[in-house]
């Protein structure tokens, strides 16, 4: 099974061949490294840029304006903040020009904690991104979803932000990408660059096929009756684990929704699930004040108030300036399994 870095690579390769993807660029995105997480290794169109995030986003905007498809990478989302006004412009160009200039560009960037990355390799960007109008924002939790969402992102006529949970880059899924060799070792031998001299290395790409995940569509990863647990990215995998454990040990039935798209988001899926369970917990690791989950809860309260059996809750990153390096600090800042589990139990016990 491909890990997420390999899945992204395969999607970019597919897009070079089939979606007129012309440029994949960013800091260390080209040879020899192919990106700090190797997600752009071995590609035909990848190249190294100057160490200049604003230049990277501007370049992508211009390429898109000229009508070509590109994927630009910001090495860590911790370093995307000095481009926010450019992201604003990319998102408002269609609107400001009254529909005249589309900017079909994809920006991808690793997000979140979970690798002991300390203050500047642990930031999240999903809630920030939800405030940049005109962008679609996606965040996969499995390699297959990463593949399918990236294809959709590249094909989309709008700017799309593709958030890569960095702690999941080496995690394998349990579904094959269409055309992916079933043997993990074979895939590795064919598309992972060798250690050492790579100057003569070329990947032997498997014939991967198209696989589309519509942007704006979530996925129910665990069916359940008593509570709806909405998450995305790294915490989605945690949510699945928790649902399985609660089912096995406590006989509690949790419905887990992988939102996958932050914006536009799958309201119908959330709505019908919460209408059924009457209980909602949202989990993500961006900071908790004006967190995107608050918007979802606002909407749940507005549209499903009389169907709720308990107060909806959000567990998100603590509202502190950074994520400290020592595990005590990181674990106290980022939502942990135990606190999610106990919140579920509390919500389930709550009586209207």
């Amino acid at each position: 099974m491909a890990n997420m870095a390999q899945a992204i690579r395969l999607a970019l390769h597919y897009s070079e061949k089939n979606l007129q993807l012309k440029d994949v660029f960013g800091q260390d995105a080209g040879a020899p490294l192919g990106g700090v997480f190797t997600a752009t290794q071995g590609l035909k169109t990848s190249w190294n840029t100057p160490l200049d995030e604003r230049g990277i986003i501007s370049m992508a905007m211009g390429i898109a304006m000229a009508g070509d498809r590109c994927v630009a990478e910001i090495q860590f989302c911790d370093y995307i903040f000095n481009t926010i006004d450019l992201l604003k412009i990319a998102g408002n160009t269609l609107w400001c020009t009254n529909g005249q200039y589309q900017l079909p560009m994809t920006v991808m960037t690793p997000v979140g904690a979970g690798i002991r990355g300390s203050v500047y390799h642990s930031h999240s960007f999903d809630s920030w991104a939800s405030r940049i109008q005109g962008w679609k924002v996606v965040m996969p939790s499995t390699p297959l979803d990463a593949y399918g969402l990236l294809l959709s992102a590249i094909k989309d006529p709008n700017p799309v932000l593709f958030l890569k949970p960095k702690a999941l880059m080496r995690v394998r899924g349990d579904e094959l990408i269409p055309g992916e060799p079933a043997d993990e070792k074979e895939l590795k031998a064919r598309i992972d660059a060798p250690i050492g001299d790579r100057s003569k290395w070329k990947p032997e790409w498997p014939g991967v096929q198209d696989y589309w995940i519509e942007i704006g569509k979530g996925k129910i990863t665990r069916h359940g009756e008593q509570i709806t647990l909405v998450s995305w990215g790294r915490h989605l995998l945690l949510a699945n684990e928790i649902a399985d454990e609660l089912k096995q040990h406590d006989g509690i039935s949790v419905e887990v929704i992988d939102l996958r798209s932050i914006y536009p988001y799958d309201w119908e899926m959330i709505k019908s699930s919460v209408a059924k369970t009457g209980r909602l917990l949202i989990v993500n690791e961006d900071t908790e004040v004006t967190n995107f989950g608050e918007h979802l809860i606002y909407r749940v309260v507005q549209e499903l108030f009389y169907e709720l059996l308990a107060r909806p809750r959000l567990i998100a990153g603590k509202n502190v300036p950074g994520i400290g390096l020592h595990p005590n600090l990181e674990d106290a800042t980022v939502p942990q399994k135990s606190e999610i589990k106990s919140a579920i139990l509390e919500i389930i016990r709550e009586v209207p």
């Binding site: 986003i57 009508g67 070509d68 020009t97």
Partner: protein, 369 residues
């Protein structure tokens, strides 16, 4: 900036053009010619008259926009009166069309002269000024002079200073890939060169082996709103910064349309021929202050390029005072008529805020997801 300062800017421009150019030999002879006062001889009479005509047309339009503001028929004016001698030649020389086969223009809010020279209808500028629904650039959404015409590769003018310098890299990159010798032209003010995007532009345009076909320009009017150029710059000329990246660079007197025209043509030819970037700093006047926020009054102590060029062409007997008067009157009548027409046109509807949030109007309102 005083009149004498603008004159010294002119001689400075000549000097810089002669001295510090990467490709010294070839340009030296050319700049020597361009610096001479008889440089008029290098441009056909018909073209000279056309330049003056377009400069006047652009000025009349800008003055009309200011009147529309004064009459309370618009909320804000910003524009380019005083920068015609520089802007008109850009519009005349650009390869006009849509897509990367043609030149892209990444302009700022002082580029009406360029648009007029490219054939923009006055009425379309007035529609933008009066935020009519018929405004082809923004549909009544943005300020005056924030043009956007994809048919002529006029990239959207945006308010955040200097961002166009980065975006232009991308269109130049796509043009280079295509290999049709089209170029990306970027303009902006002097104060804005302090932004990081200006440095980004120089860095990305000049990477060895990956040079981009770009004409990078700065319209130095010596002002950033109320802040004078003096006191904000340590470099001798803004163009020196480009030289640091081995980008061929020169300074021109942007109040002289002939010097501007010749320099622009030379640099555009060079970029098309070599695929490499070139830089021009153009010294210009700012005749009505920064914007309507500072009153948009005629300043009187800076060189008026239309006045000086008119005198030049009269003394050359290429036009008479009467010809020039007729140009002004014709365009004034056209601008007035266009204003009356635009006034009668519709305005954007409230519910149209949801249009074009995304392509094909999908997903615009989250309440409807």
């Amino acid at each position: 900036m005083s009149y004498s300062k603008s004159m010294s800017a002119k001689s400075d421009g000549k000097k810089k053009g002669l001295v510090k150019i990467a490709n010294k030999k070839q340009v030296q002879t050319k700049s020597k010619d361009t610096a001479k006062s008889d440089s008029l001889a290098q441009i056909p009479d018909k073209t000279l008259i056309q330049i003056l005509d377009l400069m006047i047309k652009s000025r009349v339009l800008e003055e009309r926009l200011i009147k529309i503001y004064r009459a309370g028929e618009s909320y804000f004016w910003i524009g380019g009166p005083g920068e015609e001698a520089w802007g008109v030649p850009i519009g005349m020389l650009a390869r006009k069309g849509e897509g990367p086969k043609y030149d892209f223009l990444h302009l700022h809010y002082r580029c009406t002269p360029t648009l007029i020279a490219m054939g923009m209808d006055m009425k379309d500028s007035i529609r933008l000024m009066m935020n009519r629904v018929t405004d082809p650039s923004t549909g009544g959404r943005n300020f005056s002079n924030h043009y956007c015409f994809p048919k002529m590769n006029i990239a959207p003018v945006t308010s955040p200073i200097e961002v166009q310098y980065g975006i232009a890299l991308g269109t130049a990159h796509a043009q280079k890939r295509l290999g049709d010798n089209a170029i990306s032209i970027v303009t902006g003010g002097d104060a804005g060169t302090a932004e990081g995007d200006f440095a980004s532009c120089l860095i990305w345009a000049s990477r060895k082996g990956n040079e981009l076909p770009m004409l990078i320009t700065v319209q130095n009017n010596y002002w950033g709103i109320s802040t004078s150029y003096e006191g904000q710059h340590g470099e001798s000329a803004i163009a020196d910064r480009a030289r640091g990246f081995n980008i061929r660079a020169r300074v021109v007197n942007g109040n002289d349309p002939v010097e501007s025209y010749i320099a622009l043509k030379e640099e555009m030819d060079y970029i098309r021929r070599t695929g490499k970037p070139s830089f021009i700093e153009s010294k210009v006047s700012r005749l009505y202050g920064h914007s309507s926020a500072s009153g948009a009054n005629f300043v009187g102590n800076e060189e008026d390029c239309i006045k000086s060029f008119s005198e030049k062409l009269i003394s050359r007997k290429l036009v008479t005072e009467k010809d020039i008067k007729r140009m002004w009157e014709t365009y004034e009548a056209e601008a007035l008529k266009a204003t009356e027409d635009a006034r009668a046109e519709g305005v954007p509807a409230a519910e149209s805020i949801w249009d074009h949030v995304y392509a094909n109007n999908e997903n615009s309102d989250w309440r409807k997801f």
